[in-house]
């Protein structure tokens, strides 16, 4: 046993010197756009990531779902090509494009073989700047979105997310699903989609990264070509919102064997000086893996759930500390009790020295492992840009994490964790909890 302890210390030590060594080149294009690049010619392919800030929160009043539907139709015919022609041209190149719209961003992911860069980017440029929104394509995709919405209404996790957003954000765009409702989506017109396109895909809100077999000069050209036909500015961003956390337990009755429990309270901005300490505090309370207190108490000791977690959710206009667990209806009350007790224990007593040390080595040691592959690196880089992080962040992040002290984490846990504000929203038929309370 003693030998074992010594060995553990040694292994932890071995992981510490690891620093992420990803060399990012900042590419400034002739037209004035900025893109981050990791040039990696080992594989003859390129991963390209683009984010347009604003996302579904740009939907105009009464047009909920317009940005989402617009994004879903970008690939259904563009330029001279109808949906079939576009798909065939894309498949001829063996390229793939992904388009998605979330609360804060429209995201575009492209993967293509480097010797097809010209052709693949010409297609993507048409999808971004010249989507056709042909009537038959609009109706086809609209029907698919409606099928999805009907399914959402019966899916416990989605019902939970929707109810939680409504409670927390009210009239703010964050308060309703970006996919829209059956009524609003059914009423959207082609003009609405054109307006949503103009509002969301604009030059003044774009973040771009690439990793793979492409030179800075070539990437600059690609970026300028992709951006040239987009409007200079788009729709106004929504205002910040203060989330509503009344505390206590609210129940939304729903016929399902398990209660889905969402719990949340105010979070912390990414730029806050205590962000790293808060991140460590949450890692100890409800972070990933089997070691976190919530996982230990709720799953390992009591077998109440398959999984429980919490995380700092930084949206562009609001910051939350949020978590979730699903448990049998008969055990929902007990689960809430345990979560609440752990919240209070962490707020009042803070973490132990050993817990902080462990969490730090985990977060520090795991960081370099994230940069495995071009697609992963491109995704991380575009997220960094959108989050306002400096280009040297990767090199300095672990030192900043290492500099956080036990006292910092204890102080921040006490300041941040607020059992009064901690609000539980339960979707299901929980026993011993009253609906609407």
């Amino acid at each position: 046993m003693k030998r074992f302890v010594a060995a553990v210390a040694l292994w932890v030590g071995a992981a510490l010197p690891l620093h992420a060594s990803v060399e990012i080149t900042e590419v400034t294009t002739p037209a004035g756009f900025t893109a981050w690049l990791v040039e990696e010619p080992a594989i003859p392919a390129v991963s390209l990531e683009i984010l347009f800030k604003g996302g579904t929160s740009l939907d105009q009043p009464g047009k909920r779902g317009a940005t989402y539907l617009m994004t879903a139709i970008l690939e259904e015919g563009a330029g001279d090509l109808d949906a079939l022609g576009f798909a065939q041209a894309r498949d001829d190149l063996a390229a793939s494009f992904g388009f998605d719209a979330s609360d804060d961003y429209v995201s575009v992911s492209a993967r293509f073989l480097s010797d097809t860069t010209d052709e693949a980017m010409a297609l993507l440029s048409d999808a971004l700047a010249a989507p056709r929104f042909d009537d038959d394509a609009v109706e086809r995709v609209r029907a698919q979105v409606l099928v999805g919405l009907r399914g959402d209404a019966e899916d416990p996790d989605t019902v939970a997310s929707t109810a939680f957003s409504e409670m927390t954000f009210g009239d703010h765009p964050y308060g309703t699903p970006g996919e829209g409702t059956i009524d609003t989506v059914a009423a959207l017109t082609r003009d609405d989609l054109l307006a949503a396109h103009k509002g969301a895909l604009a030059q003044d809100r774009v973040y771009i990264s690439a990793a793979g077999d492409i030179s800075p000069e070539r990437l600059a050209q690609v970026v300028d070509d992709l951006m040239a036909r987009l409007p200079e500015s788009g729709a106004a961003l929504p205002p910040p919102v203060t989330p509503n956390f009344p505390g206590g337990v609210q129940v939304v009755s729903f016929d399902t064997p398990q209660s889905v429990i969402t719990f949340a309270q105010p979070g912390l901005d990414r730029d806050h000086p205590d962000y790293f300490a808060a991140y460590i505090a949450n890692q100890i309370l409800g972070g990933s893996g089997f070691e976190a207190r919530l996982m230990t108490e709720v799953r390992e000791k009591r077998g109440l759930t398959y999984g429980i977690y919490s995380y700092l959710l930084g949206k562009d206009q609001a910051d939350l500390l949020i978590g979730r667990a699903s448990t049998a209806n008969a055990r929902a009350a007990e689960t809430i009790e345990v979560v609440r007790a752990e919240w209070e224990r962490m707020a009042t007593e803070g973490p132990t020295e050993a817990e902080v040390a462990k969490a730090k080595t985990y977060l520090i040691g795991g960081y370099p492992l994230r940069f495995d592959g071009n697609a992963a690196i491109a995704g991380i880089m575009v997220g960094m840009q959108a989050g306002g992080l400096p280009i040297d962040y990767i090199a300095t992040r672990n030192d900043r994490m290492a500099a956080v002290t036990v006292e910092d984490v204890r102080r921040v846990a006490g300041e941040l964790l607020d059992p009064q504000a901690l609000t539980f929203l339960v979707v299901g038929q929980p026993e011993g909890l009253e609906a609407g309370n």
Binding site: L84, D91, A94, L113, T256, G289, F290, G366
Partner: protein, 453 residues
């Protein structure tokens, strides 16, 4: 545009040749105790994935204890003779690593992703729990609860998952593939430490395991370490061959109507019994892969998508899927979501007509060429993801295939002809080998929805 495409074909003709060279970074050998080892080299980042795959899964369970393979997977984190519960996980985490495990019908696998210099420690701990697992009933009982909550979350809360369970049970008349991996609820609830330990003792031995290491390592180093840590574990000379029961001839098309108030959108599901990849004989499986793409791949370019979503607009969604990697007989499935106002009966008739049209009309050669180009390119894209490659290899080697089969697979796909695809389709897409499901809400629930609108 035409000239562009012509140039493209040349470029891609070169690309097609690449997967052959790709094998250079894959090495394999076998330890004296019978454990197979595969190394996938990728030196782009200082990480390594360490995976141990056991050739045992839910289909190797004896009747009455369904779910024991998966429960054991959970219990493997509960400690050994010298390690406390959760200690392995704690060490992985303390070093910034991540880990998990998964169970299928044919395999159970455990993996850690860590900095490359931690590989010896991962091997030491994984070798430890291969032979020294310690389990008490006190540890097992809460884990049974966890698995029941997992079942609640993944299956019982999801009508599509509940239907899939019923459909598999109907598809396989005799084979244990008809049982759910997670197990039937009443059998899971009755499981305990004893059943798990018996299963463990029988199957978790080096001559029933495949080690796959991918990332920043050399084959020499992996060989040295594997011999040091796994080498001393004795094999089980009495390991039984995986001779499972086989399916009798399927003579009757099976039809299911699954009603659940949570099914907001009625849809149709069709599953056919289909042959799987076999060592040295992968041609039919490759043809079925391409058949699934041609019939129900991307909506704009697939036969069902073009005919039913773009053409008659009787469907909102169509898809076909075939799982080629399986120890025993696999399945080919089709899903169709009808458009508003189209009944399930009409949708099924339209589906059957289009399947017949496809088999009569022949394969669109241009589309087949396009698909083959994508498969060739995928071999290049796959090199960006060492963990994904490790997973594919592990699944193949625990499903009756060899590394040579894995390496030959891209070429086998390239060599499939239009005739191969039609022949495979005519053999597999037959009513007597099928299960057809109508999924919908019960009548009264539908009425309620209509009233409320």
């Amino acid at each position: 545009m035409i000239s562009t495409l012509r140039n493209m074909s040349i470029a891609l003709a070169c690309a097609v040749a690449l997967p052959v060279a790709a094998a250079e970074d894959v090495t394999s050998f076998t330890l004296d105790n019978g454990m197979e080892v595969v190394v996938v080299e990728d030196h782009r980042s200082p990480a390594v994935v360490h995976m141990i795959w056991y050739k045992v899964g839910a289909a190797d369970e004896t009747p009455g204890i369904s779910g024991v393979a998966h429960l054991l997977e959970h219990l493997m984190f509960k400690g050994t003779e010298t390690r406390d519960p959760g200690e392995f996980s704690g060490i992985v985490q303390a070093n910034g690593g991540s880990e998990n495990a998964f169970t299928s019908w044919d395999y159970t696998a455990y993996f850690q992703r860590v900095a490359a210099d931690l590989l010896p420690q991962m091997m030491e701990m994984e070798a430890d729990r291969m032979s020294n697992l310690r389990l008490t009933e006190e540890q097992t009982a809460p884990e049974v609860s966890v698995v029941l909550e997992e079942r609640n979350q993944r299956t019982d809360s999801n009508p599509a998952a509940l239907y899939r369970e019923q459909a598999r049970a109907a598809l396989y008349l005799n084979h244990p593939y008809g049982r759910p991996i997670i197990g039937w609820r009443h059998e899971v609830a009755a499981l305990g430490a004893e059943a798990a330990l018996e299963f463990y003792g029988k199957h978790y031995v080096p001559n029933n395991a495949v080690l796959v290491v991918a990332g920043d390592v050399t084959p020499e180093r992996v060989r040295d370490l594997a011999e040091e840590y796994y080498g001393p574990i004795p094999p089980n000379p009495d390991l039984a061959p995986r001779d499972r029961v086989t399916e009798p001839p399927h003579l009757a098309a099976r039809r299911l109507v699954f009603e659940d108030p949570r099914i907001a959108q009625p849809y149709l599901s069709r599953t056919y019994l289909a042959p799987e990849r076999n060592s040295g004989v992968q041609e039919t499986a490759a043809a079925l892969m391409l058949l699934a793409d041609l019939l129900g791949g991307a909506p704009a370019t697939s036969h069902l998508g073009q005919a039913l979503q773009f053409g008659s607009q009787k469907a909102v969604y169509t898809a076909a899927y075939y799982q080629p990697t399986s120890l025993d007989a696999s399945s080919f499935s089709i899903t169709l979501v009808p458009a508003d106002g189209v009944t399930l009966e009409e949708a099924e008739a339209a589906l059957d007509a289009e399947i017949a049209n496809f088999l009569d009309g022949g394969v669109d050669g241009a589309q087949l060429a396009r698909l083959k180009r994508q498969y060739a390119a995928n071999a290049i894209y796959a090199k960006d993801n060492a963990q994904g490659r490790a997973r594919k290899i592990g699944a193949a080697l625990t499903s009756g295939l060899t590394l040579a089969d894995v390496e030959a697979w891209p070429e086998v796909i390239q060599s499939v002809t239009e005739e191969d695809i039609l022949a495979a389709g005519r053999a597999v897409l037959v009513p007597e080998g099928s299960v057809t499901g109508w999924l919908r809400a019960p009548k009264d629930a539908v009425d309620v929805v209509e009233v409320s609108q």
